[in-house]
Amino acid sequence: MADWAGALRTLAARRVVLLALVVLAVMLLLTALGQWVFAHDPMAMKVSQRLRAPSWSHWSGTDELGRDITSRIFYGARYSLGIGAATALLAVVFGTLLGLLAGFFRRLDAVLMRLVDAMMAFPDILLGIALVSILGASPVNVVLALTIVYTPRVARVVRASTLVIRELPYVEAARAVGVSTPRLLAVHILPNLMSPILVQLSFIFAYALLAEAGLSFLGVGVGAEIPTWGTMVAASAQYADRAVWTLFFPGMAIVLTALSLQVLGDGVRDLLDPRLKGAT
């Protein structure tokens, strides 16, 4: 844990992981600086320019209202990436808390894990649309709904790791010298859960990104007027036979980002799992 720079260097040594890191960095940079990089206003409609094929002035073409798709993708990224990141963070925080408690306190375990099993009996998208339909369609509610969907998944992983760590000799030693339970959990056990937590963080980010796109596509997500990658694909569906680029590019943004996040998560897992060291 002490050597973050070293860890990052080891990660980047694998070419695929390096590529994923570069893709994510470029994505973030263009999302943050989009309004200065791209010549077109993402919201500016120009009916004379509607459904234009990709060209030098519009790299990904224009949509049904003549808006520049490239600048809209990186404008929509604020919502798509923001919702994904917020969901991943919240689900990891709550999931870690629940998983830690369930893994450490046997009495809580049976109850909490049954609840987790029950929550996981609902397919993610299905639970997502049911929750958004109750909460109402908005970016904040999508984050809330998806946090409820993914928290049990994190809890299950963290619980499994906690069960293993709890039995290690050093935990027993710490208890023997009189370390209090909260301190034991926070200082001695939590840091050793960092690898599964980091892996979950990037995977849940990818899943949440895909789920938000799915919800928005179905019309029960952020609301059609907000440009996310999901709503852009949804809006393009009826023009896809004439202007396939309106469908292709926003979807590619989803695929590239989700793929990079999963490659990164896999890389972190290989890096931190001693059993796999030197395997490839």
């Binding site: 049954r114 609902f122 895909l210 999901g230 896809a240 989803i254 695929v255 793929l259």
Partner: protein, 322 residues
Amino acid sequence: MSRMSWGTLGRTLLGRLGGMLAVLSLVSVLVFLLTRLAAGDPMAMLLGDQASLQDIAQARQRYGLDEPLWTQFLLWLGQVLQGNLGQSIFLQMPVSQVLLERAEPTAWLAIFSVGLAMLIGVPCGIVSAVWRGRWIDQCVSTLAMLGASMPSFWMGLLAIQLLAVGAGWFPVSGYGDPGADWLTRIHHLMLPALVLGTLNSALIIRFTRASMLDILSEDYIRTARSKGLPEVIVVFKHALRNALVPILTVLGLTLALMIGGAVVTETVFNLPGLGNLVVRAVLRRDYPVIQGALLVIAAVYVIINFAIDVLYVWVDPRVRHG
């Protein structure tokens, strides 16, 4: 098997059964609470704008909505256990009947997709494990991850453009006329199953690979190799047979993914299945339908996983003997 191990087997199975029933009860509580949390009085919604406050109060009494929450839950659960899931507000039909009508396309879609996912996933996973770390393993693993990163609606829309609109090999959408024969039905299901099966093979590839890698490092595989058996026999006869048991257990998980994926895929291809029904019910705020569909889908998932668990206990002596 001795009497002793029958006792252990019985206890294990009883334990699993108890666990399943506990999860099912929790599922029913969650579904009940979920729809009760929904904004708005269900009676006001059922009776429409014309109802007076008195009408609503009477209706609340008739449906037991003035009882405490847990009484309401027990009343509702009693009805559910008798197969009564309530009345669809929009369709004016019993929910159970609506679900039954819509279950067929979803069931076929799930079966075809799981079949295709196995056909792709198992061979790819084996190849990946046998040539671990080589270029073919890297290719398969990257493709599997690509599959897991692709939104099914996006791939569905592209497939429609390419293979239905462009090439004209498949119908663009729908499930054929109401009286269509089974060949027409299958033709309509092919493209959605292709999309859903390909994307979901990713999980089976990963699982097969991990399971094969585990078994290929076992002592008896080394023994088989060292006594000079050809690699083909070692892989297919000794390893694959033992790897298949854990692979089968992932089927339950895949099926759940399929039902979730079907929500989106059915909407893209306009298939009149359960997923499509739920999406429409959500857009129309038809809560009895949402409630019924959630309950049935979650229950099917729990029961399938229980069945696989039991199968696993039967097949694997290590689990059987606890």
